[in-house]
């Protein structure tokens, strides 16, 4: 069924269609509409789930541990400083290999206090053992949430997944969305089953100490699971496409006009739409330009990216986060895997600063001339 809805509602519908049973949530701008909609569904009897009104995001993330250990599919959403308050629990969820799914409505981390969009919240948590998706549209939100559970619960992965959507510039945008049928979603996503659950008849110990003789082995298991996730993400994208007719690149990266491109912009999230619009405009003028949208930031799809870089002369990486004292984290990571490629790094759109078509044009011009005029797109 096609209907015009807000991206936040698409996220909430994704959770509902995934038959989520427990939602420990603590609203924070700009993620607030997500718990609001879920609350509506539960109140109206459309969704058979329990909403836990926790006292903080730290508790929301902690409650995810308990709810998943009872065998219940669980979901939460947050933003910015709420996300930061969850920080302690994020690596515990991944260390315990619990398939939580969380929507992160990306918002700048204070200070100064700022409610608008950049990626400083989620990108700074890249090492915490969560699969991270960055999405571009409302349609992708609903499709990705459903895929997130498929990936998180895969027996070769068993890692939590966060879906990052840009605050306001996506969360509050109304778009035409094709809502999948419940029956179809059920055939794609089977009920959640877990071997190790809290059971008084069969007691087990969860979250024990990992001494120096085992801690490193558990970390290696997590790394192996993340690498396994690369193929699982691809397969989820492909299987979803077969059923619903929609896919997003190979699930890891999405290529736009990249077949013969010499110059390309690589970014994550909604600013890719702006880059695509500019690329289309420049293509009409005969310029061989393209866009690479990184959808899966963790696991980092090294092989897919290297393949996409093969024909490029120059590449621009737009970071919506700055690792203060270093550089854009995406830029440094791309540089590390593309030693022969000329890569320009840009810091863009921090704290809701607009990233405009003019910015994109100046970046493409830099790529063409081979001279980077400025590093911050102010």
């Amino acid at each position: 069924m096609k209907t015009v809805i807000e991206a936040s509602e698409a996220v909430a519908l994704g959770a509902k269609l995934s038959r989520v049973k427990v939602c420990p949530m603590y609203p924070i701008t700009p993620s607030t509409h997500i718990p609001e909609r879920i609350s509506d569904y539960i109140f109206d009897g459309e969704m058979d789930a329990e909403m836990i009104h926790v006292e903080s995001e730290h508790s929301a993330a902690s409650a995810l541990i308990g709810s998943i250990l009872t065998g219940a599919r669980s979901f939460t959403a947050t933003s910015s400083n709420g996300f930061e308050l969850m920080y302690e629990i994020l690596p515990i969820l991944s260390g315990m290999r619990l398939p939580a799914v969380m929507a992160v409505a990306n918002r700048a981390v204070a200070g100064p206090i700022n409610i608008w969009n950049d990626h400083s919240d989620a990108v700074s948590a890249r090492d915490q053992g969560w699969v991270q998706f960055y999405v571009e549209s409302s349609q992708e939100c609903i499709d990705t949430i459903i895929q997130c559970y498929k990936i998180a619960e895969d027996k070769n992965v068993q890692m939590p997944v966060m879906m990052c959507l840009d605050g306001f510039s996506l969360t509050h945008v109304f778009e035409n969305v094709d809502i999948p049928e419940q029956k179809q979603v059920d055939s794609f996503l089977p009920p959640f089953k877990r071997e190790d659950i809290l059971d008084v008849k069969n007691p087990k110990t969860f979250g024990p100490i990992g001494l120096p003789d085992s801690f490193m082995n558990f970390k290696k298991q997590q790394q192996d699971a993340m690498i396994n996730a690369i193929d699982v993400i691809k397969k989820a994208n492909l299987d979803y496409k077969k059923l619903f007719g929609r896919g997003y690149g190979d699930g890891l990266i999405e290529l736009y006009k990249m077949d013969d491109a010499e110059y390309a912009i690589l970014a994550m999230g909604t600013i890719c739409g702006t880059a695509k619009a500019k690329a289309e405009e420049l293509r009409a003028k005969g310029k061989k330009v393209g866009v690479i949208r990184l959808r899966s930031y963790r696991p980092f799809p090294v092989e897919a990216l290297k393949k996409a870089f093969k024909k490029l002369t120059r590449l621009a990486v737009l970071d919506r986060h700055i690792s203060l004292g270093s550089d854009g984290p995406l830029f440094t990571e791309i540089n590390a895997i593309a030693p022969g490629l000329d890569v320009f790094g840009y810091i863009a759109g921090l704290g809701g600063r607009d990233v405009t078509l003019d910015h994109m044009e100046s970046v493409y011009l830099d790529l063409e001339t081979g001279k980077q005029k400025r590093e911050w797109l102010m």
């Binding site: 315990m96 290999r97 068993q158 110990t205 001494l211 003789d213």
Partner: protein
């Protein structure tokens, strides 16, 4: 100087590293013999001991037990050698010995 290993440790018991560090056989901490951590070994002189129970009460690891003859004994499988019993014994019935081969 080498530290004297009393009995085994987790590696020797080869406890499986389950996904997410889940322990499917609860209570297996008992198999982990923390006595191997010990540098000093407390030794009770049964002739001096007045059976007041102070060592039994202050031991943070419940490594002191009363045997069937009513004597206070130390379970060296779990005694980490903190020596609180050695310090607290009111009649100095407990001495310390350096663990060495």
């Amino acid at each position: 100087m080498t530290r004297k290993e009393t009995v085994g440790d987790v590696a020797k018991e080869s406890i499986p590293l389950n996904t997410g560090a889940v322990i499917r056989t609860p209570g297996n901490t008992k198999k982990y013999h923390t006595g191997s951590w010990r540098t000093f070994r407390p030794v009770i002189d049964q002739k001096t001991c007045i059976k007041c129970g102070t060592c039994w009460r202050v031991c943070p690891d419940a490594a002191i037990y009363i045997d069937k003859d009513g004597k206070y004994r130390i379970n060296y499988d779990y005694c980490k050698g903190c020596l609180i019993c050695f310090r607290e014994c009111p009649v100095k019935a407990i001495s310390k010995e350096l663990e060495q081969k």
